[in-house]
Symmetry: C2
Subunit: 427 residues, 2 copies
Amino acid sequence: MDIGNVLLMLAVIFALAKSAAFVFNRFGVPGLIGEILVGILISNLVIGDWSFEQTLHLNDPEYFDILEVFAEVGVAFLLFSVGLETRVKDLTSVGRSAIMVATLGVIIPFILGYAYIEYFADGNMYHALFLGAAMVATSVGITARVIKDMKLTDTKESRIIIGAAVIDDILGMIVLAIVAGMAESGSVEISSILSITILAVAFVLIVLLFCSMGVPKIYAMVEKRNERKLIADPSYIPRKINMLSVSIAVCLGFAFLADYIGLAAIIGAFLAGMIFADYAWDWGLEEKIESINVFLVSFFFVYVGLQVDMGQITENLLLIALAVIILAIIGKYIGCSLGAKVCDRKIDRSSLNIIGIGMIPRGEVGIIVATIGMKIMVDGVPALSQELYTVVVLMSVVTTLVAPPLLASAFRKKYPPEYQIDAHDQL
Amino acid sequence: MDIGNVLLMLAVIFALAKSAAFVFNRFGVPGLIGEILVGILISNLVIGDWSFEQTLHLNDPEYFDILEVFAEVGVAFLLFSVGLETRVKDLTSVGRSAIMVATLGVIIPFILGYAYIEYFADGNMYHALFLGAAMVATSVGITARVIKDMKLTDTKESRIIIGAAVIDDILGMIVLAIVAGMAESGSVEISSILSITILAVAFVLIVLLFCSMGVPKIYAMVEKRNERKLIADPSYIPRKINMLSVSIAVCLGFAFLADYIGLAAIIGAFLAGMIFADYAWDWGLEEKIESINVFLVSFFFVYVGLQVDMGQITENLLLIALAVIILAIIGKYIGCSLGAKVCDRKIDRSSLNIIGIGMIPRGEVGIIVATIGMKIMVDGVPALSQELYTVVVLMSVVTTLVAPPLLASAFRKKYPPEYQIDAHDQL
């Protein structure tokens, strides 16, 4: 291995990804789409004898593996930062509406995706499971960005959407754990599905319980200890522990642990983030992890694009993609607005519209699920085919692009601009 | 490659390194020494059939390469952050004293180290060159820490030490560039040494010139442009560029460029840091890069320790190490205090003592030089032998451990505690 080649690869990918993200952002499009396109460009651009892939040594497995490690560690940190923003107490406070919105918003898209592949497309059960799982998790970042830009954070709809998106993340992780577990064990026996489900749910519940009971106790203990020492000796300076180091160690450790017990590494990273969520603000953790993410996360999205093989895109595949995109949009919209309606019969149509649209974007989470599906082997074949991987990437990109303008217009119908200005002035 | 194994390796190394650094810090010892010891432990701990190295898959080149990439990228970021703290205008303002202290503090240890290996030890010229180069650069971090802890930042001696250490870094990079260039070309002809020297000096000078002339101009241009736009349209919001992304891209790009033209990658990273030094504060860059370093840099020091083979340490090697340590301490002490004396004949002995001792610690820079020496092949053999690599690691560790208590006592002689309290109260 030549370190110069590694530096070239990292420098070029990083610079291209950030430039693309910058340009896309200027036009109001999420930067990650630019980064995925850079990946697609790198793997598909061939001019005569010259190819991008060869210049960056990406056709050499040794260097490709290194990029993969950067991508995987990057996505672990990304999910870790999502976990940092997921507080257990927020989950219990958003109430029934958010829970119902999240639950139906998970079940209906999953069933639609699964049924489509199983009964109308290639009929491969693992394909169907992973495609269903990839259609589940909402990418709250994009919606949150729109809400923030419109200064409508304090509306009822916004709170339900954000709350539901958080619960939806956890449900999504559980669905992924079950699906991945079924594929890894290559078994569809009820007993094995049951044991995987129990393992996944138990892992999540133990961490949630630890978050809501254990962490505050440890924190209070340390505080008390420092107070006692301070009373005994007023010049005592509490030992400073670098919480960033501790949290990174826990993130890497949990990612390994999740992988080790047969779940996805990102599930561990996500749960690790939740452990620190209550104190992330005190310790400036979110900001610090964000700096690490600025460096690492782009490698993941470029890596996603690298695996899209344009040569493979046929008319038939585009039709499948179209069907999946429509099901993904309709499934979320119906599931979530139904969930809101069930809880609050008197809710008006424009509110249901906002909630339904707000939950549409899948963004990175769907892609992450697909990446995992492509890596698990069932009887020597990946659990998710490369063609369906491309479909998931397309689905994520389209739902992400479609949601912001629709959401903005749905919000404007319910809250005309005057309201927004008022809300802004009140701040 | 199994990502689970990678996560295990990263998680265990990170957790052990940070724990060791924490414990060492508590006892007033620089954390990096704990991290190096973790590396030595991992590569040398064998209990019966079990070895640490095997559990972490480090005897598999595939995984070791990945650790190496993390180490190399980490050390590039480390030098980048040193560059961020190196302002060109500080260099020109510290005056003659700092320049003389730095210059003689570089020349004398280099000559002593070179002469010892060439004439008294194994006589291999490349060994001698790299050992000399590893004895050159002061690790200012350790001294700065002592000065800061004693609240003596505003003394004349402190300013000379910090200024000299900065210049010393640049001189050290030039020495490294020349030595590495000689080894890479395997040539000792005057013409080739000359061309390498010119290349190295030119690279450094171009960047320095760009820093002092080009960067302020670009900055002023952008500012003016924004002002003009703001006058034309008062609602204009200047485009936000993520300076962290830009600086990381430049860091990786310069690291590659330096490697490509035959210099060490870290020289490029260091110079890249200098480009942003004037604006690092405005953009919060130092803090953000520091977060990335918290994650990455420990891998470098563990990697350093991994390459120390305890089985190799013989009585003879310890004697060489002892000689090198003594020369490293005496060389810096004499070189630096001589430099101060030459500039200011009336300077008193206690001040010379402070300056001489303050420049002793070599810390990470010496080790980085040795790591590079071990990787360059001359006629199929590394330019620096593994034995001498171990000697450099020992030298760095001992000089780092010895300096802080000596410096504290030297400072106390000149500035008794009353003065420190006064200085503190004035803040």
